[in-house]
C-alpha cells in the first residue's frame, strides 16, 4: 500500500512536469519563462529574430539557444547596461521588445520603424569600417551623410552608396552582410547629427591606397586606419 502511494505520487509529479513543459512549448510567448543555454522552441526563435534585428548575430535562427545565442545575449546585455549573465530573463526580454518595437505617433499609433536609411548606412559602415574604432565608424556614416549635403553628390543614402565605384564593399558584396550592433549604433548616431570626421566627404586607408585623386584631397584627420578628407 505504501509503495502504491509512492508510485502514484511520482506518476502524478512526472505528469505535472510533462504537462507544464508541454504547455510551455504549446503556448509559449517570449517573456513567459527564463531562456538560457539549452532552451528550445518558438520563443527562442522569436528571441533570435529580435537579436538579429538589433545587429547581434545569433548564427542561424533555428529556435535553439546555443553558445552563439548566449554570446550574443551577453553582448546585448553589456551594451544596454544590464547584468551580464547570458540568460534571457524578464529585464533582458523587456529591453529587447522595447528596442525592436515600431515607432508610434503622439496618439500611440504604430508608424513603422523609421530606420530605412539607417539600416543601409549601418551595412556600409559594417562593411567599410569593421574593426575600426567606434568613432571611426560614426565618421564613415557621417561621410555618407555629408555627401547628401554636398552639391557634387547624389541626394539619397542609397544613391550615394550604390554609386558605381563609390565603395569597395559594394563591389565585393560585403555590403550585404548583416550589420553589427556597433555599426547600427554608429549609423544611428550619425543620423542624429554627430560628425567626428569634421565635415569629410571621402575617406581612405593611406596604407592601401595609391589613387592620386584621393591623395590630392585636403586631409582633415586620421581616425584609426582611415584618413578623412574634404
Amino acid at each position: 500500500m505504501k509503495i502504491r502511494v509512492k508510485s502514484w505520487g511520482s506518476i502524478l509529479a512526472i505528469g505535472l512536469i510533462i504537462s507544464i513543459a508541454l504547455s510551455g512549448i504549446a503556448y509559449a510567448a517570449l517573456g513567459d519563462r527564463l531562456l538560457g543555454k539549452g532552451s528550445k522552441g518558438p520563443e527562442v526563435t522569436e528571441l533570435q529574430k529580435k537579436m538579429a534585428q538589433l545587429g547581434y548575430g545569433v548564427g542561424t535562427i533555428d529556435g535553439k539557444f546555443g553558445s552563439t545565442t548566449e554570446a550574443a545575449i551577453k553582448r546585448f546585455q553589456k551594451d544596454h547596461g544590464l547584468r551580464v549573465d547570458g540568460l534571457a530573463g524578464t529585464q533582458t526580454i523587456k529591453e529587447l521588445k522595447r528596442l525592436t518595437a515600431q515607432s508610434t505617433n503622439a496618439s500611440g499609433k504604430a508608424v513603422g520603424y523609421k530606420n530605412i536609411d539607417t539600416n543601409l548606412l549601418a551595412r556600409c559602415v559594417n562593411a567599410e569600417a569593421r574593426g575600426e574604432p567606434y568613432t571611426g565608424q560614426v565618421a564613415v556614416a557621417a561621410v555618407i551623410l555629408n555627401r547628401i549635403g554636398d552639391p557634387a553628390f547624389p541626394k539619397t543614402v542609397a544613391d550615394i552608396i550604390y554609386q558605381p565605384q563609390a565603395f569597395s564593399s559594394v563591389n565585393d558584396g560585403q555590403i550585404n552582410l548583416p550589420p553589427s550592433a556597433s555599426a547600427l549604433r554608429a549609423a544611428q548616431e550619425a543620423v542624429s547629427g554627430s560628425d567626428p570626421s569634421g565635415g569629410a566627404v571621402f575617406f581612405f586607408n593611406p596604407a592601401k591606397t595609391k589613387n592620386k585623386y584621393i591623395w590630392s584631397r585636403p586631409q582633415i584627420k586620421q581616425i584609426g586606419n582611415h584618413m578623412f578628407t574634404k
Binding site: R83, L99, N105, P151, K155, G199
Partner: protein, 454 residues
C-alpha cells in the same frame, strides 16, 4: 576493356564539363545583359531628363503668370533631381567630386528657392532672372553633349568605361590616354561614355560658379563663428585637456598627443586611456571628447542622467538648456542649446553623453556650438498671441516659445516654435517671428530610443 572504360569516363567527364561550361556562359551572359540594360536605362533616362529640364527652364523663364511660374520652376527642380539620380548610376572608374552633378544640384536648388519665393507672394528679381538664364545657357551645351554620347553609343558602339591601359601604353609607347585628355579638357574624341562625361565635367569645371542663395549654394564651410581668438600651443592644449579630464572624473590624467586635425575646427588630438579628445588650434577649447570605457550595469534612470548632464554642463562652465535625449542603452545622449532671454538658439548646440552606470560624462561634441555661436540681434517681432492666431484652426498648442532655427543652407530664422497636437499627431510648427509666415514643420515620432523629429 580497361582502356575502353577510361576513354568512356573521360568522354563523359568532358561532355559534362562542356555542358556545365556552356550553362555558366549562358548565365553570365544573362547577368551581363541585365547590367547592360540597367546602364542603358540610366543613360537614356539621364539624357531624357536633361532634355526636359532644359525645356522647363526655358518655359520657367518666359512664363508670366505666377501659378504657372511655380509649376515650371518646380518641374525644373524635380527634373534636375531625377537627372542627378540617373547620372549617379552610370558606370564609372572612380568617384570624385562631380561638376556636372554640382551643376544639376544647383540648378534644381535655385529653381526650388525661386518657386518658394513666388509661392509665398514674392517676385523674382532681374538679377535672379539673369542667373536662371545663365543656368539655361550652360545647360544647353551639356544637353547637346549628352545627346551626342547617346548617338555615338549607337553608331560607334562606345564602351561604358575606358579599358585598362595596355602594356604598350603603360610602358609609354601609346598615345595620350583618354582619361588624361579628359582631365585636361582637350577635345579628344571620347572612347567611352564615362570619358565623354568626364570631358563634360572638365569643361564645366572651368566655368565660374553661380552666385545665388539656396541650400547648396556654396560648398565652402564658413569660418567657425564661435571659437575664441588666438592660436594655442600644444603645451597649452595639453593643459586644457588635463583640466577637462579632471572635471569629468579623471584627476591627474596624462593625455598622450595623437595627431593634429585640419579644417575649420582643426586642432590637437589627444588620447587618455580609452578616451579621445580634440582641442582647437584657435582658442584652445575642447571641441570633441569621447570615452569608450566599458560601462557597468545601469544604476540611473534617464531623469537622473539628465540631472547629471546639467551638473556636467555647470562644471564645464556652459549655460545651456537640455532640449532632447536619445537612449543608447548603456548611455544617454543629450542635446543642449543656448537659451538667451527666452529665445532657444538651436544652432548653438552641444551634445553630451552620460554613462548610466555612474553618471560620468563619456561624450561631448561642441563642434556645432563653436561653428555657429555668435551674438545675434533680433528683428521686431509679432506677439505670441498674434502668432497663435496664424496657426490653423484646431491645432492644440501645448507650448510656445521663441527660437532661432536653421533652415536649408545654414540660413537662420528667428521664429516662434509651437509644439502642439492635430488629428492625433504631434508637431513642431515654426512661424517666422517678424512676419508670422510658416517656416518649417516637424512631426514628432516616438521611437524606442526617444523622440524623433521627421
Amino acid at each position: 576493356m580497361n582502356r575502353k572504360f577510361w576513354i568512356g569516363t573521360l568522354a563523359a567527364a568532358f561532355l559534362i564539363s562542356l555542358g556545365w561550361g556552356f550553362n555558366e556562359y549562358r548565365l553570365a551572359g544573362e547577368y551581363r545583359l541585365v547590367a547592360e540594360n540597367n546602364n542603358h536605362r540610366a543613360l537614356t533616362d539621364f539624357a531624357s531628363h536633361l532634355d526636359q529640364l532644359e525645356t522647363d527652364m526655358a518655359k520657367g523663364d518666359v512664363v508670366s503668370n505666377s501659378n504657372q511660374k511655380i509649376l515650371y520652376l518646380s518641374q525644373v527642380s524635380s527634373k534636375s533631381d531625377a537627372a542627378l539620380k540617373d547620372f549617379a548610376q552610370i558606370p564609372a572608374e572612380q568617384v570624385g567630386l562631380s561638376y556636372l552633378g554640382q551643376f544639376l544640384t544647383q540648378s534644381g536648388d535655385f529653381a526650388r528657392t525661386l518657386a518658394q519665393q513666388v509661392a509665398s507672394g514674392g517676385s523674382i528679381s532681374t538679377e535672379e532672372e539673369k542667373t536662371l538664364r545663365d543656368m539655361h545657357e550652360r545647360l544647353v551645351p551639356v544637353n547637346q553633349k549628352v545627346q551626342d554620347i547617346m548617338t555615338r553609343m549607337d553608331s560607334e558602339n562606345l564602351a561604358w568605361t575606358n579599358p585598362a591601359p595596355t602594356i604598350r601604353q603603360r610602358l609609354g609607347f601609346g598615345g595620350p590616354q583618354v582619361a588624361q585628355a579628359a582631365a585636361d579638357g582637350s577635345e579628344v574624341s571620347a572612347k567611352s561614355v564615362r570619358s565623354g562625361l568626364d570631358q563634360l565635367d572638365a569643361s564645366l569645371q572651368k566655368l565660374p560658379p553661380f552666385s545665388y542663395t539656396g541650400e547648396y549654394a556654396s560648398r565652402v564651410v564658413p569660418k567657425p563663428l564661435g571659437l575664441p581668438s588666438g592660436e594655442v600651443t600644444r603645451d597649452k592644449a595639453q593643459a586644457v585637456v588635463r583640466d577637462f579630464l579632471g572635471k569629468v572624473g579623471y584627476p591627474n590624467a596624462t593625455p598622450k598627443f595623437s595627431g593634429e586635425s585640419q579644417g575649420a575646427l582643426g586642432g590637437y588630438m589627444w588620447k587618455y586611456k580609452e578616451a579621445d579628445l580634440e582641442v582647437s588650434h584657435q582658442g584652445g577649447v575642447i571641441t570633441f571628447y569621447r570615452d569608450q570605457r566599458s560601462i557597468a550595469p545601469k544604476t540611473l534612470s534617464i531623469e537622473e542622467a539628465s540631472n547629471k548632464a546639467k551638473q556636467a554642463l555647470q562644471t564645464l562652465g556652459w549655460q545651456l538648456a537640455l532640449t532632447s535625449s536619445e537612449d543608447f542603452g548603456s548611455y544617454v545622449q543629450f542635446d543642449a542649446v543656448v537659451e538667451k532671454d527666452g529665445v532657444r538658439i538651436y544652432p548653438d548646440k552641444v551634445r553630451l553623453m552620460i554613462a548610466l552606470d555612474n553618471g560620468q560624462l563619456v561624450g561631448l561634441d561642441a563642434a556645432p556650438y563653436y561653428s555657429f555661436h555668435h551674438s545675434r540681434t533680433f528683428p521686431a517681432k509679432i506677439t505670441l498671441e498674434q502668432a497663435v492666431r496664424k496657426l490653423r484652426p484646431n491645432f492644440q498648442v501645448i507650448e510656445g516659445r521663441l527660437a532661432v532655427i536653421v533652415k536649408s543652407g545654414n540660413q537662420e530664422v528667428y521664429s516662434y516654435e509651437f509644439r502642439g497636437g492635430y488629428q492625433g499627431e504631434e508637431y513642431l510648427l515654426y512661424l517666422n517671428a517678424s512676419t508670422g509666415a510658416e517656416e518649417k514643420i516637424q512631426r514628432i515620432i516616438k521611437t524606442p530610443r526617444g523622440e524623433y523629429l521627421q
